[in-house]
Symmetry: C2
Subunit: 184 residues, 2 copies
DNA sequence: GTCTATAGATTGATAGAC
DNA sequence: GTCTATCAATCTATAGAC
């Protein structure tokens, strides 16, 4: 599953054949079908696995960083940590969801759940900063969209300074963001 | 070529078979090979065609709109005009470049030229607003990235209000953007 | 659990008749 | 220019021996 995840990310889901995954883990195709009945099943398992890993990562961020503003900053920094991979293969979530949409694949909604995971977690942080639910969600979607755009262009232009520049702009936006005064 | 362009956009390049294009235009596969020697040749032709159309579109915008700030606004409005298609299939440029990158396709650089076309045109407008070349290009990349992120998330969440909200935010950013004072 | 063998379908591409 | 026929490769999936 780890290998399948990597291959799907690097070469795309459709372009990654059943046999190439089996070969990469040193199994025959026949044996591989013993573990996964169909190719779609691997995709389901990979998305499931990513969902769990994402949940764990967000929980770890929340545990390590109490302040909501610092948590949001941590999300932005993720792009710098994964800079090399993003420039080569884009965002793992964005590129997968985009591909599945083109294929009209049944697992589309499942994969989109990864986006919802991030959106909801980000919205929680904005809410903790004092934003009302609709504003918190709007900011979460904005931050998520910014990150997607950064990943797409960083890959197309293979620019190693672009991610840094844009993340810095994001951090500045986060620092300057002030929730509306709450009327007591 | 028009049909191929549409099919590549809707279903992706690899997922669109040679035969399906031939069938869509009412030709046999054999006859289609008379016009295009290989599948990659259609892709090249499609990118070429899009490049020319994009050039023409940008020139038309420049001709119809003299003020650089209004030209930038026109770029942002494009996403609202194509809202339905974007929500279904994403950005035609972004999704194609992303797919070709995963396939390690030779036409990758060619397709990325579409992004460069937009970036350079946008940078020209920012330069006309009074920004120095590095700042103009930075703003161009920023605007392009924002548009890509909006397209990706609008598709994943199939949200028809999201594009409007984000484009409004872009327009506000453009309106408030002031070039640095030039020292005489 | 692991393998080989193979079915069945699709696809990219070619050959050659008309 | 257009077609049918066909090749060769690839890929998903199954069957069955060990």
């Amino acid at each position: 599953m780890e290998t399948a995840d990597r291959l799907f990310y690097e070469a795309g889901y459709e372009h990654t054949s059943f046999g190439s995954i089996a070969e990469a883990v040193g199994l025959s195709r026949g044996n591989f079908y013993h573990h996964f009945k169909a190719k779609d099943d691997i995709l389901t398992a990979v998305v499931e696995r990513r969902t769990e890993q994402t949940r764990a990562m967000l929980a770890a961020w929340a545990a390590a960083t109490p302040a909501p503003r610092a948590r949001l900053a941590q999300f932005a920094q993720m792009m710098q940590r994964n800079s090399a991979a993003i420039r080569q293969h884009g965002c793992p979530v964005g590129t997968l969801c985009t591909e599945l949409a083109k294929l009209e694949h049944p697992a589309q909604a499942h994969a989109n759940g990864l986006f919802r995971l991030f959106r909801d977690w980000l919205a929680e942080q904005f809410a903790a900063l004092g934003f009302a639910p609709p504003d918190a969600e709007r900011h979460a979607m904005h931050l998520l969209a910014r990150s997607q755009g950064i990943a797409t262009l960083a890959q197309a232009f293979d620019d190693h300074t672009f991610i840094d520049t844009e993340v810095a702009a994001l951090q500045q936006w986060l620092r300057g963001l002030r929730p509306p005064r709450t009327t007591p």
